[in-house]
């Protein structure tokens, strides 16, 4: 007699199936990612040239560098949020997912992970690019400190933003004026974390000890856990019309 599949195993399989489908679809529409990256690169050029006009030959201060990076990332997030649920809703493909036996929480988690992967990929290109174009005045950052910056300064906030982005994208997809509602809902949700993200990035790039960033770190972690819990608890309400 066949033993019934364990729910956790089948959830994982479904999660991977939806994630794979999203990644494959995105690769086939590579022009969309290209235009987002192009927007980021142009923004970096504008920031750098504006700074260099006044401060010729002077390296960009870390504060301005960090603000430049995160401003672009926040806008990039809005582009990606539209892809998560709004586009699927408009095309009708969302109904294929919501009428299937897949649980809504699995669907939302896979979308959040997809958002995280896509945002991280775009960030990677933009951050590397901005390091060469903007030339920030980072003194002595060894490999370990740089990796710590990537892990805590970039990946953790990106994870938090991806969860927030998925939540807001699902919340706004049934509204009539999506382009207005989407950023309007995102603003109050990410407002509490903007300051800790900027502060965390500046401190890490200045090479400060980890003990100096504990408060920001805990705040970001708590925010990410809270948003994730909300995403799971309201998953059925979020995806029902």
């Amino acid at each position: 007699m066949k033993t019934p599949k364990k729910p956790a195993k089948s959830y994982r399989k479904l999660f991977i199936t939806i994630l794979q489908k999203d990644i494959k679809s995105e690769i086939r529409q590579i022009n969309d990612i290209f235009s987002i990256i192009l927007f980021g690169i142009i923004s970096i050029f504008i920031f750098s040239s504006a700074y260099n006009t006044v401060n010729l030959g002077v390296r960009m201060p870390i504060e301005i560098f960090v603000i430049q990076i995160w401003l672009i990332i926040f806008f990039t997030l809005i582009f990606i949020m539209i892809k998560l649920f709004v586009q699927e809703k408009e095309k009708g493909t969302l109904y294929g997912l919501t009428s299937s036996p897949v649980s809504n929480s699995v669907l939302l988690i896979s979308k959040a992970v997809f958002c995280f992967i896509l945002l991280s990929f775009i960030e990677l290109i933009l951050i590397l690019f901005s390091f060469f174009i903007s030339i920030p005045s980072i003194q002595s950052l060894n490999l370990n400190e740089f990796l710590l910056y990537i892990m805590i300064g970039i990946i953790l906030p990106t994870l938090d933003l991806s969860i927030c982005g998925t939540l807001v994208s699902a919340l706004s997809m049934y509204s009539k004026n999506k382009s207005f509602v989407l950023p309007l809902l995102l603003f109050p949700i990410i407002l509490p974390i903007t300051s800790p993200i900027i502060s965390l990035n500046i401190k890490l790039l200045e090479g400060e000890l980890i003990s100096m960033i504990v408060i920001e770190l805990l705040f970001l972690l708590a925010h990410a856990i809270l948003m994730f819990s909300i995403l799971i608890f309201v998953s059925d309400e979020l995806l029902s019309e």
Partner: protein, 237 residues
């Protein structure tokens, strides 16, 4: 309808309210296994709402739906597995190929079996004359071809009931004829129960066993097709 057949679908006092507006108002009917129900009515009569409720896309405000003896409220997931839905908006991903779409949906319904999947796809694509298009993206297909892929998508789920909302919209006469033949085959050979909501009265008359006419969210007429005077159908609108 008949006492000899098994009841597959039972709707008991289904209502759906949007604000103060009743899209459906106390709808009750039963449907036998291996039969076709044609749902017709004027625009805004509640046809799409009924299909969306039956497919689980929206929940009714009140009432009870029993499918294969299971209550939608308590057995949501297992009911979804035995329902195949086609709406006027395609569920297929335009940038993925026929093969990739079908593989994705079979995985979604946890029925993907690597050893048999290829044969299954070959069988259905051959049956629907799509063998040469398996590895083409959906965006390269005509509307008629897309509709055939939609039918394959639900057939590989091996459902007990098909819910079709305006499946003939945007299709030419020959494709409609072909789809009608396919649906009759599905009912007769595969013993499927089919619910079709459409504006095409002539198609409903041709294929339905039972007809449900909706008027402003209420049942105006529910009877076997042979008991209805075909010339008077529009008088129930």
């Amino acid at each position: 309808m008949s006492n000899f057949n098994t009841i597959l679908l039972e709707c008991d006092n289904i209502s759906k309210q949007f604000g103060f507006f009743f899209a459906l108002n106390k709808i009750s009917f039963q449907l036998d296994e291996s039969s076709i129900l044609g749902v017709i009515g004027a625009n805004g009569a509640g046809k799409t709402t009924l299909i969306r409720i039956l497919s689980g896309l929206i929940s009714p405000t009140s009432g009870k739906i029993i499918i294969k003896g299971k209550n939608y409220k308590t057995d949501d997931k297992s009911i979804r597995k035995i329902i195949g839905t086609i709406t006027n908006k395609s569920f297929l991903y335009e940038e993925l190929t026929i093969y990739e779409n079908l593989k994705f949906f079979s995985k979604l319904y946890s029925i993907y079996d690597k050893s048999t999947f290829k044969d299954k796809i070959e069988h259905y694509t051959e049956k629907f004359n799509l063998s040469n298009w398996i590895f083409e993206p959906i965006s390269n297909l005509s509307n008629g071809m897309k509709q055939k892929v939609e039918i394959i998508r639900i057939l590989i789920q091996n459902p007990s009931i098909l819910l079709l909302d305006e499946p003939f919209s945007g299709l030419d006469f020959n494709t409609i004829k072909l789809l009608v033949k396919i649906l009759i085959d599905l009912k007769e050979k595969d013993k499927l129960t089919i619910v079709i909501a459409t504006h095409k009265i002539e198609v409903v008359q041709e294929i339905s066993d039972t007809i449900l006419i909706l008027k402003k969210g209420k049942i105006s007429k529910f009877a076997p097709i042979k008991e209805i005077d075909k010339n008077k159908i529009e008088s129930y609108y």
